[in-house]
Amino acid sequence: MTAPAAVVAKGLSKSYRKWGRTRAFGTLKSALLGRGFGAALAPSETVQALSDVSFAVQRGETFGVVGPNGCGKSTLLKLVAGLFKPTAGALEVTGKVSALIELGAGFHPEISGRENVVINGVMLGLTRKEIERKLPEIVAFSGLEEFIDEPVKTYSSGMYVRLGFAVAVHVDPDVLVVDEVLAVGDEAFAHRCLDTIADFSRRGKTIFFVSHSLALVEELCDRVLYLDHGRTKALGDPRETLARYRMDVAAEEGARLAREHKEEEKNFLEGEEGERRAGAAAPGVAAAPRREAQLPFEEKPPVQEERVQQATTPAAPEPLEQKESLPRRWGSREVEITGCRMLDSSGAERYAFRSGQSVTIEIAVAPRAPLSDFVFGIGIFTPEDVCVHGTNTELDGFLPSRLDGPAVVRVTLPALDLGTGPYLVDVAVHSRREAPYDYWRGACRFQVDSPDRSAGVYRPVRRWAFEGPIALERK
C-alpha cells in the first residue's frame, strides 16, 4: 500500500439542479423578460446526489462501488471520469482516465466502422498515428473484420458495443472506469471483457468498477465502497462491505414483503368478512357454489400434492387455465386460518432469509366448534408453481385429538437450504379424509438470498474432495 494513490476524493459532494416546471423548457426570451439572465442560470433548487464522500484508490487497485439505484454511483463515476465537476470537495485523479460508460458513444452511424474507430480513438485522447498503429489490433479484438468497412448504422447493437469496447480498452488508460457495460453483449463477449479487465489489473492499472452484480464485484474488487443516498455507508473489504449491503437489501426487501403481507392479509380477511356477511341470508351454502365452480377437491389427495399431480397427469384439464381459475382460498371453514406469519430463529417476523437460515411458519387457527379431526399442512412453492416441499401433521406422524379454541401452530425448518429467489407458502387445515376446512394459497411470500451464485432451487451444503494428480486452490 505504499503505491501512490491514483484517485483521491476528499469530502466529495455533487448536487444537481432540479428542473422544476419553471425551468423545464427555459427560454432565452423568458430569461430576458423575466427574472433576468443571471437568475435564469443560477440553480434554483438542487438535489444532493453525493455528499461528503472520501476515499483513496491506490494505484493498481480494483475499486468497486455498489449501492441501490439512485445512490450516487453513476455520479461518482462521472466525477472520476472527469465528465462532471464536483460541487464541493476535492477529487484528484492521476494519469489518463478511460471511461467505459457507454460503449460506442460518439460513433457516427453513416460512416464506416474503421473510420469511427479512428475518430473514437482520437476523441478518447490518442493521436492519429497511435490509433492507426493500433487499428488492426482493435479490429481483431472486436472480431468485426468482415464488417469493419460497412457503415456503423448496419451493425447490430452487440457489434456496436464490441467495437466500442475494443477502442476503449486500447486507449491504454492508467485508470479504467467501468460502468455496468458488461451487462450488454453475449456471454462470450462478457467473458472477454472480464478477461481484459483482469489483464488490466495484472498490469498494475487502477480500475474503478461499478456494477449491480455483487458476485462480480466480490470476484474482481480489492476494496468496495457502499453508497446509499449519496453517502458512504461502508468502505473496505469486499466481503464485509457486500455482506453489509446484502443485509440492508434483505432487510428492506423483508420490510417490503412484510408490508405487502399485512396488506394482503388485511384485504383477504376483509374480503372474507364481506362475503360472509353477504352470504348470511343463506348460511351454510355460502361456500358451496364457489367450491363447485372452482375445484372438485373432495376426493383429492392432500392439497399440496394436488397441484403437482395436476401438472404431471395428462388427464388433468389444462393446467394453465386451471391455475388461473384456482381460487386463493377455499374450504368449509370449520376451522379457519386467522393468520400466517414467517419468523426467523429469534422469533421476529421476517420475509427475507439467507439460504440455510432457520425459518418458522406460524399458523393461527380458530375452529367454529371443537373438533378432533384436523390436519395442518404447509407447502413451499416457486412462483412457477413447482412444489419445493409439502408436508402435513399427518405425514409427519401426528394424530389429532382435540382442537377446542383458537390455537397457534408453528413448524420450524432449521435450515432452509433454498437457492436465491422468491417463494410462496401455502398453508392449510383439512380433515384426515382431506376435506379442506381452510386452504390458503400463497399465504406468505418470502425471498431467499444465497451467498454464492450456485444455481437451482435447492442449495445444499457441499463438500468437495479431489483425488489423484489434481490441484485446486481456494480463491
Binding site: G26, F84, A105, V122
Partner: protein
Amino acid sequence: MLKNLAGLWRHRALVGVLVSRELKARYRGSVLGFFWSLLNPLLMLAVYSVVFAFIFPGRTASTSPYALFLFTGLLPWNWLAGGLTDAASSLTTHGALLKKILFPAEVLPLVAVVAQGVHFILALPVLAAGLALGAAGVLGPAVPVGWPLVQAVPLFLLEGVFVAGVGLLLAALTVHFRDVKDILATGLSLWFFATPVLYALPDIRSERLRAALLWNPATPFFEAWRDAFFRAAWVAPERWGVLVLISLGAFLLGYAFFDRLRDSFPEAV
C-alpha cells in the same frame, strides 16, 4: 480560461477528424457526393443571374454585373449563417458525447464552423469561373481581377475566428435556452439585410443609415470581401486593424462565455 485556450491547439487533430467525419457523413449515400457543395453555389449563381438580369434589372454601376457581385457576398454570408446555425445546435445534437466521453466541448462548435468553411472553399472554383467570365466581360461590364485576390486568405481566417467566437457563444446559450435556435433563424434574416450582401455600402444615400450599418460587426468583413473579389482593391491597414479587433474580440468574448458555462454542459444537454 487561458489554460483551456492554450489546450485548444492540442485538439486540432480532433477537430480535423471530426470535420472530415462531418463532411463524409453528409455526402455519404448521396449520388453526387462532394459535387453537391459545388452544385449548390452554381445553382445559386445561375438563379441570381437570371433574377437580377431579367426580373429586377437596373442596378447601380458599382454592383454590376450584379450576379457576380451578389455571389461574392453570398459565399461568405452562407458560411457565416451556416456556421452559426450549425454551431448553435452542435452541443445539443452531440449531447451524448459530452455526457459519456471526456471531451473538450468547444471542439463541437468549432467543427461546425470549420466544416462550413470547407464548403466555402469548395465553392471557390465556381467563384473562380465566375470571375474569369466577369473579367472577360461576358456577364456585363468587365470586372477587375488581380493581386488583391490574395487578401481572401487572411479574410477567410479572420471571418473564421469571428464566426467561431459568435458560434461558441450561441452554442453555450442553446444548451440552456432551447429557443436560441429559433431566435437565431429570425436574427440571421434580419442580419442578412443589415449586412451589405445584396447591396454595396457606398450606394446607401442616407448618411445616418450608412453610419448605423457600420455598427454591424459583419459589415467590415463584407466590404473587405468585395474589395478582394469584386473591386480588386487593397483593404487599408486600419480596416485590417478593425477586422482583427472584431474577430479576436468576438472570439475571446464567445470563448470566455463558453468557458464560464462549460461545467454545466454535461448535465444540461
